[in-house]
């Protein structure tokens, strides 16, 4: 039941943003920004409840994200695939994305990245544990792909103790 509340609320939010902003790019940006703000706070909840310790490499981080975080917050376990040879990039494959349970994209929103909030959440949460990552959707079932694929790329360790934007 609770997941319907979340799914419907998220849908209402995207609908409202589509009314407020003229083009899909701006909506995508706004969703990413909101996700980021959620992520930087969600990580605290995650660390407090999951009892996960420090990850030693990016592979371990990938496991924690897919098997613990996604399971805990969205009730799904994406599979991890397509590792880059350098081990700094991987894909999360979502067989079913609960965010899009009742969703169909109208033709005039072909460039809308409906679930872009997720990218922001992942980026924000990882930034709080000193990891700068690039997160983006490369496949989306809403756009006719057979699965939803989120690509995550490790950029660098953040050495600075201050969070970005706070001087």
């Amino acid at each position: 039941m609770n997941s319907e509340l979340f799914t419907l609320t998220y849908g209402a939010l995207v609908t409202q943003l589509c009314k407020d902003y003229e083009n899909d790019d701006d909506v995508n940006k706004q969703l990413d920004k909101m996700g980021y703000n959620i992520g930087v706070r969600l990580i605290e909840d995650f660390l407090a409840r999951s009892n996960v310790g420090r990850c030693h490499d990016f592979r371990e981080t990938a496991d924690v994200i897919a098997k613990i975080a996604f399971k805990m917050y969205l009730g799904i376990t994406p599979s991890i695939t397509n590792w880059s040879p350098g081990g700094d990039e991987f894909s999360l494959i979502l067989e079913n994305n609960p965010l899009v349970d009742f969703v169909e994209l109208p033709d005039n929103h072909s460039t809308l990245i409906y679930s872009n909030l997720l990218c922001g959440v992942l980026r924000g949460a990882l930034e709080m544990v000193q990891m700068a990552v690039d997160v983006k959707f490369v496949q989306d079932t809403l756009k006719g792909d057979s699965v939803t694929e989120i690509r995550m790329k490790f950029i660098r360790r953040i050495e600075d103790n201050l969070p970005a934007g706070e001087e």
Partner: protein, 158 residues
Amino acid sequence: MADEALFLLLHSEMVAGLYRAAEQGEGENGRCTTKLESMGFRVGQGLIERFTKDTARFKDELDIMKFICKDFWTTVFKKQIDNLRTNHQGIYVLQDNKFRLLTQMSAGKQYLEHAPKYLAFTCGLIRGGLSNLGIKSIVTAEVSSMPACKFQVMIQKI
């Protein structure tokens, strides 16, 4: 199953995001409460449809209000409404002594002026739910000391 923490964060970011956009002149200022209310309305409509799928037909208006206070509230906010009062002339007051969307703010009066922002969505939720059960209403909220709050439902006779 989505986690509750995620919904709470999404809701507070929705409020923050709308007001932030309005301040920067991107959205229309002063309409944030209306927007939140109408988002709640849509969600309320959708939820009530699912929640009432297998319930028996409601006897009357009071029966519907009781459903909102018990089943609906429990599913959404993990607790029942603490007190339901009515004047039997179309006005209902739903009191929640520990409203879930206010519990993350400090209790008492310090942030009282910000409380209405965090109630607009829920006002819409109630109005949307009632609307799909055939009841047209106006829903307002009132807070005197957080995290307690009252929702007043005025039924509009058609």
